[in-house]
């Protein structure tokens, strides 16, 4: 089984290589985003040393880390699933002896690992030369960050699977996919760190899974969360990983029953 999933990851690697242009354009887009948010936030900071418990340097680090983390956890699984349902290729997936959604998740992992190695790591090196960042040196913080980032990835995959599988019921869920993308970017703390939201919104967001995708992992690295604070963040993420798996599986089973294969 494990061999099969490794093979799935490898194949996705090959496919990413087949579409190199996408990869290059991704680098440009992410660089622009990091630049834009960096200058925007620096002008908001002005000459204030810190806002909402984040210093200007921490903020710059937060921007760089959260965008580079996004390169890892972001994928278009929802769009791919919706596409396969719409054009009927999902039938091919169902004649294979594997769980379609788990294989999809591993494809997402293949994509994530590809971008992490060929994009985030070199990107981070470049960005840390251009902007003044405050990254920990060789320390356990990176391992903690890696754990937290991986859980964030799983949560994002589950959210994507959920959105994608809804295409079984609503054949054209393109609008929903776009809305979800915006919601995840905003509510996960990518565009605005959660600590900048008004108090009531922070209270609401702490009950939603989105902050566990990006905000928590980024804070682990930026603030160097340790001890109880770290374990609390990690257990919140783990809880969401488990909780979200339930509706994904339920909707999947329901979808398989009502499946109509499009186009013959």
């Amino acid at each position: 089984m494990l061999k099969m999933y490794l093979e799935v990851i490898r194949i996705r690697f090959l496919m990413m290589l087949a579409y190199r242009v996408n990869y290059y354009s991704g680098i440009v887009i992410y660089s622009i985003n990091i630049g834009v948010y960096y200058f925007l936030w620096m002008s908001i900071y002005g000459d204030k040393p810190s806002l909402q418990g984040l210093t200007a340097v921490q903020m710059a680090t937060y921007i760089a880390v959260s965008w580079m983390a996004r390169a890892f956890y972001f994928n278009n699984l929802d769009r791919e699933i919706a596409q396969e349902i719409r054009d009927g290729t999902v039938a091919i997936q169902l004649i294979r002896p594997y769980h379609y959604l788990i294989v999809k998740a591993f494809q997402g992992l293949g994509e994530g690992v590809f971008r992490l190695l060929l994009f985030s790591v070199p990107g981070m090196l470049v960005v840390s030369l251009v902007f003044p960042l405050d990254l920990p040196g060789l320390s356990w913080d990176w391992l903690k960050f890696a754990c937290s980032l991986f859980l964030g990835f799983i949560i994002n995959v589950e959210v994507n699977l959920l959105t994608g599988v809804l295409a079984f019921f609503i054949l054209n869920n393109e609008g929903m996919i776009w809305a979800k993308r915006m919601i995840v970017d905003l509510l996960s703390g990518l565009t605005i760190p959660i600590s900048f939201f008004p108090g009531w919104a922070q209270a609401v967001l702490s009950y939603l899974p989105f902050q566990a995708i990006s905000y928590l992992p980024s804070m682990v690295l930026v603030k160097g969360l340790s001890g109880d604070a770290f374990w609390h963040a990690l257990s919140v993420q783990a809880a969401w990983c488990v909780l979200l798996a339930i509706p994904v599986q339920l909707i999947w089973l329901r979808a398989r029953k009502t499946l109509i294969v499009q186009g013959g």
């Binding site: 093979e7 194949i11 496919m15 087949a18 039938a91 169902l94 294979r96 499946l259 294969v261």
Partner: protein, 335 residues
């Protein structure tokens, strides 16, 4: 052991009906109307291990829907179904290891990567041991002549090349049962022949059961001894290809070229009482339609040959294709 056992297999779909016009569209928003379509209507089907069966019918007769139930993709609305001893939908993951499927209109290879990468992934998916994988792959590469295609991405292959690779992909785990949904659609004669020969080979050697849907009657003639014909979701014929021909090929046609012009009435008079019909084609050409299969050509000849000088004659069997067309048009009322 039986490959397929279905009792009263039924699949219904709900189809939403949209009301006409803008007003109708608004009403549809609030209250949608639908009707139920019975795509497959209580069919019984038993197929033994090692059989090669053609599953035919017009477009929309319910062939593809049946295949999708038999392969576990769709859940039947009603009826009992056992394929290779499994309930295809409920035990899907275990069940699909025992079948291979080729959909002529959909590719199961990965579009953007080399063919051999797809094979490697399928090897892992079906957990085929290295030795078996190598042996089977080498053999299929040789028989289907795809050695030169392995390092090409699938999108660069022609239809015939791709279809041969699809077959390899469907057989890499040596399934006991192979579903082919229009495998030869759009292929040239040589590729078709190559594929058919290969299918006969695996059927003979490994006893692989083959269920084939096709619109190409020559596929059936080349491969299948048994035909199941479907119309509007119901099985209207299930039996041998030979019997189908015998029952439906109501006689033959015989083309005569005569030495001199003969009056039709003379021919009719000499063969009076026989179940046949004469038709004039030209001055000296006539066609004899034998309207019952048990009427022998020699009996007719015996009646006329002493009075009419025959220059040339040609017996024409009714092709399976004509028979099938006739059944599609007239229904199965006579069989």
């Amino acid at each position: 052991m039986r490959s397929i056992e279905a009792r009263g297999l039924t699949k219904e779909f709900k189809v939403y009906q949209s009301r006409p016009g803008l007003k109708g569209a608004f009403r549809d928003l609030l209250n949608r109307q639908y009707r139920t379509i019975r795509a497959v209507d209580a069919i019984d089907l038993t197929i033994e291990q090692g059989e090669m069966v053609a599953y035919i019918g017009e477009n929309g007769a319910g062939k593809s829907t049946t295949i999708k139930m038999l392969t576990g993709i769709l859940q039947p609305t009603a009826g009992e179904l056992k394929v290779n001893g499994f309930d295809p939908h409920r035990e899907r993951e275990k069940f699909v290891k025992t079948i291979g499927v080729v959909f002529g209109q959909r590719s199961q290879l990965w579009w953007d990567i080399a063919v051999q990468e797809s094979f490697r992934l399928l090897k892992q998916v079906y957990q085929v041991p290295d030795a078996d994988y190598k042996q089977r792959l080498d053999r299929m590469i040789e028989v289907l002549d795809i050695g030169g295609l392995l390092d090409q991405p699938v999108r660069k292959l022609s239809l015939g090349q791709r279809m041969r690779c699809e077959l390899v992909a469907a057989l890499i785990h040596q399934p006991k049962l192979l579903f082919l949904d229009e495998p030869t659609i759009g292929l040239d004669v040589l590729v078709k022949e190559n594929i058919r020969r290969f299918l006969r080979e695996i059927n003979r050697e490994f006893g692989t059961t083959v269920l084939l849907t096709t619109h190409d009657i020559s596929d059936i003639e080349a491969l299948c001894s048994r035909v199941v014909m479907l119309d509007q979701g119901k099985v209207i014929y299930d039996g041998g290809l030979q019997e189908l021909r015998r029952n439906w090929a109501k006689g033959k046609k015989v083309h005569f070229e005569l030495a001199r012009e003969v009056d039709m009435s003379e021919l009719e008079a000499r063969t009076a009482g026989m179940p046949l019909r004469w038709e004039r084609k030209g001055e000296r050409q006539v066609v004899l339609h034998l309207e019952q299969p048990d009427l022998a050509v020699s009996d007719v000849l015996a009646q006329i040959v002493q009075h009419v000088h025959i220059v040339e004659m040609q017996i024409e069997e009714v092709s399976t294709e004509e028979i099938v067309r006739k059944i599609y048009q007239e229904g199965m009322t006579l069989a």
